[in-house]
């Protein structure tokens, strides 16, 4: 279903800390239910600007973490402070205004016959996997999740999914090492899988290479710098295997791993 035309102003209903992350919740009376893997362009309604280097100016892209309830559905987003835009959004409190445009882009598609879903993510890449896990479980499928984090504080984000297995870079919780260690073990055991992954470029590239080597299909939710989120600026392109570019905001953010020769570093 298409997104309402134009940005709309929501009111923050909740803002909670989950480990190193902030989860914002905003009832969305005007919007349709998002598909798992879709994203929204967000901006604070007040004082969007005047931060580090006088930014932010453009809206920022966020995968929807979950859309709960109906009449109206409440959108949830998970964010980490990495710069002026995420900092400002992370300061929002209930009652503050939030501009949203969306849902946008192409999300995940269900596993083909006989394939079991494996969810693999890292950091804020947890977000789209949460709503996707919900959908898979709701359709009666299994959806085990493997999540990698920097440290124990970040790993609290794993609580946003059901029964996620965790790896941390510093070994403070779960497996000590990259989440792909867990993925390799899973891939090399059991029935044919399809991998749904979202995370930092290095992790995604590792997932892509692992899956390619094993001829396992994978759907990767990528990130790239976006100005508009709806195909207008041609700024968010990623290079594809055939030497051309796709706009991540309209042809992604979820791309078939096959499309890519590699996951670009930014």
């Amino acid at each position: 279903m298409s997104a309402p035309f134009g940005r709309r102003r929501l009111t923050i209903g909740g803002a909670r800390r989950v480990g190193a992350y902030v989860v914002l919740a905003a009832p969305d009376p005007g919007g349709p239910a998002p598909e798992p893997g879709q994203f929204y362009m967000l901006a604070a309604a007040e004082r969007w600007g005047g931060g580090e280097d006088e930014r932010p100016f453009l809206p920022r892209a966020f995968s929807v973490l979950r859309a709960t309830g109906t009449d109206p559905p409440t959108l949830e987003f998970m964010l980490e402070d990495v710069g002026p835009g995420t900092r400002r959004l992370g300061e929002l409190v209930p009652g503050d205004g939030l501009w949203v445009t969306g849902p946008l882009g192409q999300g995940f598609t269900a596993p083909g016959e006989g394939r079991r879903a494996l969810l693999c993510g890292g950091g804020v890449g947890t977000a789209p996997l949460a709503i996707w896990q919900d959908a898979l479980l709701a359709s009666g499928r299994e959806a085990p999740a493997l999540l990698g984090f920097r440290d124990g504080e970040h790993a609290e984000g794993a609580g946003l999914l059901r029964d996620a297995r965790v790896a941390t870079d510093d070994g403070s919780t779960g497996h000590h090492g990259p989440v792909t260690d867990l993925l390799v073990a899973e891939l090399d055991a059991g029935t044919p899988a399809i991998v749904y992954a979202c995370g930092p470029p290095g992790m995604l590239e590792a997932v892509r290479a692992l899956c390619e080597a094993r001829a396992v299909p994978a759907q990767l939710a990528l990130e790239s710098g976006m100005a508009c989120g709806f195909g207008a600026c041609f700024g968010c392109v990623v290079p594809t295997r055939d030497g051309s570019y796709v706009r991540l905001c309209v042809d992604g953010p979820v791309l078939d791993a096959e499309l890519l020769a590699g996951v670009p570093a930014h």
Partner: protein, 297 residues
């Protein structure tokens, strides 16, 4: 109801070339986009003779109240545009202006001729922010070079010809006068200001470029005051209509552009912040004008 090059338009707000892909936007927003179409005419992104992939990413850099882009004019090429995009663009509820660019007079002539054949196209906008193969300067940076090119190509189309000027020149009004003298029916400005985005982040090496394309162009509110200066300088010196753009975010800004002498106002970067910005600006301008009794000129 502004009249512009023989087109009777519903209101003065159009889009800046390359800042709105209605085909993609329709996929995102569905028919609501068409039903409340924000612009009174639609300007295509720049089309070149041959297809272009555009620049390697990153293509965007955010600046204080602005955006640097180094998109590199990706497009399907003339044939791709005519075959694949034109049918969809022709179905829009407003007149279509096709923006073209070439690096030689011969290329431009070919583009103008091809466009001339198509009834779906109401007018053509010629982007002259393209380096001249001989001087290295943009064709539009030098009044004499531009006049020479226009004199060579103007008769290839009978459609209204809008020349999209470059702001990266010493005296844009001189260039606009040359365009008028050589048969332009309108001029549009400003295009983006030449800008450099430095590499940022922990691994940034001093002097390195952030953008895959090296340098880029600055747009958005940061450049509005420069745009107003150029638009008013040009409008005072030409008699043909002027399309003013650069950092317009509100009806008040649109009124300022009209006040500076523009007949139409184009919205670019602001549409990235709000896909329906054009419609909001149109409405704000209407209210503004209702209060002050005219479209401010």
């Amino acid at each position: 109801m502004p009249s512009f090059c023989g087109l009777e338009l519903e209101h003065p707000i159009v889009n800046g070339s390359g800042t709105y892909d209605v085909i993609a936007a329709r996929r995102a927003f569905g028919e609501a986009l068409i039903e409340s179409f924000p612009f009174s005419a639609f300007v295509s992104k720049t089309i070149t003779l041959e297809p272009r992939a555009g620049n390697p990413p990153p293509r965007l850099f955010e600046t204080p109240a602005g955006l640097i882009n180094s998109i590199g004019l990706p497009n399907k090429g003339l044939q791709g545009y005519l075959e694949r995009d034109l049918p969809e663009l022709a179905a829009l509820p407003v007149p279509l202006i096709t923006n073209v660019m070439g690096s030689t007079a011969a290329e431009i002539a070919a583009l103008l001729e091809a466009v001339d054949d198509r009834d779906e196209i109401a007018a053509v906008e010629l982007n002259v922010s393209c380096p001249n193969v001989r001087t290295g300067l943009d064709i539009g940076a030098d009044p004499r070079e531009l006049a020479a090119v226009l004199d060579a190509v103007r008769r290839r189309t009978s459609k209204p010809l809008i020349v999209k000027l470059t702001p990266n020149t010493a005296d844009v009004a001189l260039v606009a006068e040359a365009a008028e003298a050589s048969g332009a029916d309108a001029v549009s400005l400003i295009n983006t200001l030449r800008a450099f985005a430095p590499a940022v982040g922990p691994d940034a090496v001093a002097g390195e470029a952030w953008l895959g394309g090296g340098t880029g162009g600055l747009s958005g509110p940061a450049i509005r005051a420069v745009a107003l200066a150029q638009v008013s300088a040009v409008a005072r010196r030409v008699t043909i209509p002027v399309v003013g753009m650069g950092g317009v975010q509100s009806g008040a800004h649109a009124a300022q552009m009209l006040g500076a002498g523009a007949t139409l106002v184009a919205v670019g970067t602001e549409s990235f912040r709000d896909p329906a910005a054009g419609a909001r600006i149109r409405d704000e301008l209407r209210d503004f004008s209702a209060k002050s009794g005219s479209f401010a000129r």
